[in-house]
Symmetry: C2
């Protein structure tokens, strides 16, 4: 099935769940939709915090067709959306057209699925994928560089790897600088302000074996977190794991 | 003399002319200052047109100290500024404090001085520098990707080089992707819509010898041109050749 057909299935409700693994080698994107008065601050925040907020595309106010996804409609082509008002989750829907207005600007943001695929392609297993759970994510003490009304700490995702493959994993993910890039930290979680590695702030916990090292990447939840701190009157995002599927090959983001 | 001292001399009027060659290996920047209602469109335009508009820094509304220039004041540290109203040049001044307001956002944009220095450092002469004239610049038929109210064609700078060094020049400038990067064209000017190579739209004409090839780079005049098309109530820019001097080493932009 090609990506246009997958988006069609999502739009018509034939596919309703998470999108992990359903788009082959095509880029999946995080979604953030904001009223027109915030996007300068947001784009500047993204520019200053490239690792956690790698922008793939900006749809200008009122636009809902991605140039990187043929015949797409970002208002219907994500399986599940979260609606936040004044920083609080108020609704979860599969169609945001009732919330849509010509005042809304859409950001598509790179996602770790791209570098995870590259890791898998080199024959290195990823534990949370094998266990069929969500990746573990944590708030840290790593400050982002603020921009306008947006400020806050970096959220990271963590994947445990055997010590023997850590260098390979660093090399592979460094090859995708526009998709979170290389890790921000490997080893002791406390060094980046994580008190209890067994209690992630988002996603599912995962055990770290004796011969494994926890490796941490800047995570696409960072911008959502930072935006919610600012309590905008509305923020629309994808529900975790329910991404927007583009027609871009992952390889196009390889340096 | 260090760059802080040079800025001090410019601020006090001890240095008044162009800045070419006075900052050693330090980055010089183009300047564009716009009211707060335009910067989202401008930053998006820059993101979509990275070659002609490589952003070094954004100073948020009302800010006038560059984080890349110690004790700087963007309102006084450029030798000469142009003031445009509704797309027309209305004044040329050495101090913009009378025009300043907390509503103004400042963009520092990369400049070809960085890659020119790298070319010179490899022992390759640059003709307009040897002749002490301004680089020749031309409007082209190469469209930029529009963003919001901003649209228009790419402006290019042209430097003639002997055929034998063209590959070196391409290689060297490709190493500075955040400072206009490699050329957009080499050879026949007509292919990019330049009717008469002897009549540049900006800067000074320069002759091209029999054994020389004209090489064209995306130019920092592009954003100024595109902004003026949109006729904002005010645009403040540096006067051509009168740049803002930072404390950043050119080498930091080398890939």
């Amino acid at each position: 099935m090609n990506t246009e057909e997958i988006r069609q299935r999502i739009r018509t409700g034939e596919h309703t769940g998470p999108t992990s693994g359903i788009s082959g080698d095509k880029v999946q994107a995080n979604l953030a939709i904001l009223p027109k008065k915030y996007p300068f601050d947001f784009l500047l925040f993204a520019m200053r915090n490239h690792k956690p907020v790698p922008i793939i595309e900006v749809l200008e106010a009122g636009e809902f067709v991605s140039r990187y996804a043929k015949n797409s409609d970002i208002r219907t082509d994500v399986p599940l959306y979260n609606i936040y008002r004044d920083g609080e989750l108020v609704d979860t829907v599969d169609d945001i057209r009732p919330y849509w207005s010509d005042d809304l600007v859409t950001f598509l943001i790179g996602c770790s699925f791209t570098f995870e695929q590259a890791i898998l392609d080199e024959g290195i297993p990823i534990k949370h994928i094998d266990q069929g759970v969500n990746v573990a994510m944590y708030k840290t003490n790593i400050n982002t560089e603020p921009a306008g009304i947006f400020h806050g700490e970096t959220v990271v995702s963590m994947r445990p790897f055997k010590q023997s493959v850590v260098d390979d994993v660093i090399r592979i993910t460094n090859e995708f600088p526009s998709m979170h890039g290389g890790p921000v930290h490997a080893g002791d979680p406390e060094m980046i302000g994580i008190k209890d590695i067994n209690q992630p702030d988002y996603g599912d916990p995962i055990d770290i074996a004796e011969n494994e090292v926890p490796v941490f990447w800047a995570c696409g939840v960072t911008p959502q977190n930072v935006v919610l701190n600012a309590k905008p009157e509305i923020l629309i995002s994808h529900a975790p794991g329910h991404m927007f599927i583009t027609d871009i090959n992952n390889e196009e983001y390889k340096n």
